[in-house]
């Protein structure tokens, strides 16, 4: 489901860009992979959108999905998934090093798996604030980033301190140019 959503997002963005080449000049569409450390180590996908035409490219929007289902360190980990919607602000958009701040809202889920645990609260909200740095390399197509933040709502699988790192590929700057 998540893979389908990402593919659909990429397809829509690519078709829009091909139809209107001027939009390409102003859109930033990073897609990438990330690693997140909170209650557990999770891996995931992220896709974002920002435009130079909106407040000079400072605000951006990202959706991401992370999970410990792939790349789990140990065999008997409780399986977790995080779904995040991010609203952020880049302080130096397009520059080599760009500090940013963002607010994440989303949903944390873990598998209770067994009938005995059916009454456990397996879904909980996520609300966190993060600060980070992003780089712009190779004609601004590759964006490595890292962030650190605090969760305002904690739960069984959401702890107060959160860290993440990843690398994005801006399809508007790379593949389509």
């Amino acid at each position: 489901m998540n893979k389908k959503c990402v593919l659909l997002y990429i397809s829509v963005m690519m078709s829009l860009l091909y139809q209107n080449s001027t939009a390409l000049e102003h859109l930033n569409i990073p897609v990438g992979i990330q690693m997140q450390a909170n209650s557990d180590l999770q891996w995931g996908l992220t896709a974002g959108l920002s435009s130079d035409l909106i407040l000079k490219g400072h605000p951006y929007f990202t959706v991401s999905y992370t999970s410990n289902r792939i790349g789990a360190r140990f065999p008997y980990e409780v399986k977790q998934d995080n779904y995040l919607f991010t609203l952020g602000w880049m302080f130096r958009p397009g520059k080599l090093i760009d500090p940013f701040i963002n607010i994440d809202v989303g949903l944390a889920h873990f598998d209770s798996e067994f009938e005995e645990f059916k009454l456990l609260k397996t879904n909980s909200p996520i609300l966190d604030l993060r600060f980070g740095l992003e780089g712009a390399l190779l004609r601004k197509a590759i964006h490595p980033w890292c962030n650190f933040g605090i969760s305002f709502i904690t739960s069984s699988t959401v702890y107060p301190l959160v860290m993440a790192a990843g690398v994005n590929y801006d399809i508007s700057k790379g593949l389509l140019r």
């Binding site: 209650s39 360190r73 067994f114 005995e116 645990f117 009454l119 904690t154 702890y159 107060p160 301190l161």
Partner: protein, 314 residues
């Protein structure tokens, strides 16, 4: 502008210097102070190995080693001991005091979780040496984490007698208060996270102060247990285990029970028993020194005591 820099500098220096903004305080009504200590320190009947009549004890009769949690003392299991005595159940109870516990708060500060768990294995070894052949555990909260540590490193495999039954009551792997997971960062700043206790009986049997150094130890033990459970391990041959867990526990997150259920297996590879219980209490088997106890709490406690006693004497 200068004032702002001064404020930021002061804040940074305060954080980096690791000041204890919540100091340890106690009075003579608290377990933390020098006046009140755990009764087992002066009463040798609490442990079978130090009981004055131990020479006459029936070595074939089951012994249940009862282990309390962090900041508590043997009082946590006194109700179970009294239940066994009052109902003439042919079982000995041995109430073990964790290292660093039941004394002055400075003793807790000076110890690590390895010191806490040592008296548990010391008692087990003493019972084996005395010739007891049916040894069991009833462990609560951090007592459960200690057993997980012992079991995960096969600490009983080299013993001539393996534990018969292990009953986990609200064993901790993940705390309910997630700030504890950040104790390595927050601890040096806070210095101490005292619990709010109004009940005089509770003050006399639980530490009010929770020094950060001891919370770091608890966090380290929980973290280790979690990793061991995520890797998975098996119980000794023929050891039975049952996990009891309150569904609404203010101290231990119920996901702890799921982690234990997923990662702890019987020696034949099958899963251990589990019972999620409807309770709002942490260590629901202890009802004394509570501000409020419902009828359902009493029924649950008695039913659990009976189940443990029945299984051990089966």
């Amino acid at each position: 502008m200068k004032k702002r820099y001064l404020l930021i500098s002061t804040l940074l220096i305060t954080i980096l210097s690791g000041c204890n903004i919540v100091p340890v305080k106690y009075d003579d009504t608290m377990l933390d102070g020098p006046v009140i200590n755990d009764t087992s320190l002066v009463d040798p009947t609490f442990r079978v190995s130090s009981h004055p009549d131990r020479a006459t004890f029936d070595r074939t009769r089951p012994v249940i080693i009862c282990v309390h949690g962090y900041g508590a003392c043997t009082y946590e299991w006194e109700e179970f001991r009294d239940y066994v005595i009052n109902n003439d159940i042919p079982v000995y109870t041995s109430l073990v005091l964790l290292g660093g516990h039941g004394r002055d708060i400075e003793d807790l500060i000076a110890t690590t979780w390895k010191d806490w768990e040592k008296p548990v294995m010391d008692e087990y070894d003493s019972l084996v040496k005395m010739g007891f052949i049916n040894i069991n555990f009833a462990v609560s909260s951090t007592g459960g984490a200690i057993l997980i540590d012992y079991l995960s490193r096969n600490a009983f495999d080299s013993k001539p007698v393996k534990p018969e039954n292990i009953f986990f009551i609200d064993a901790i792997v993940v705390p309910s208060n997630k700030l504890m997971t950040a104790i390595n960062v927050l601890g040096p700043v806070l210095g101490n996270s005292p619990s709010e206790m109004n009940n005089p009986l509770a003050k006399a049997h639980w530490y009010t102060n929770r020094p950060s150094s001891s919370l770091v130890q608890l966090h380290d033990l929980c973290d280790l247990c979690r990793q061991k459970l995520e890797k998975g391990f098996r119980l000794p041959d023929c050891t039975y285990a049952k996990i009891y867990k309150s569904e609404n526990d203010g101290s231990v997150d119920p996901i702890s029970a799921l982690m234990m259920y997923k990662g702890m297996f019987k020696s034949d590879g099958n899963r251990v028993d589990i019972q999620m219980v409807q309770s709002d209490l942490h260590v629901f088997t202890r009802l004394h020194a509570r501000d409020y106890v419902s009828h359902a709490d009493s029924v649950l406690q008695q039913a659990t005591f009976k189940e443990i006693a029945d299984k051990v004497t089966d």
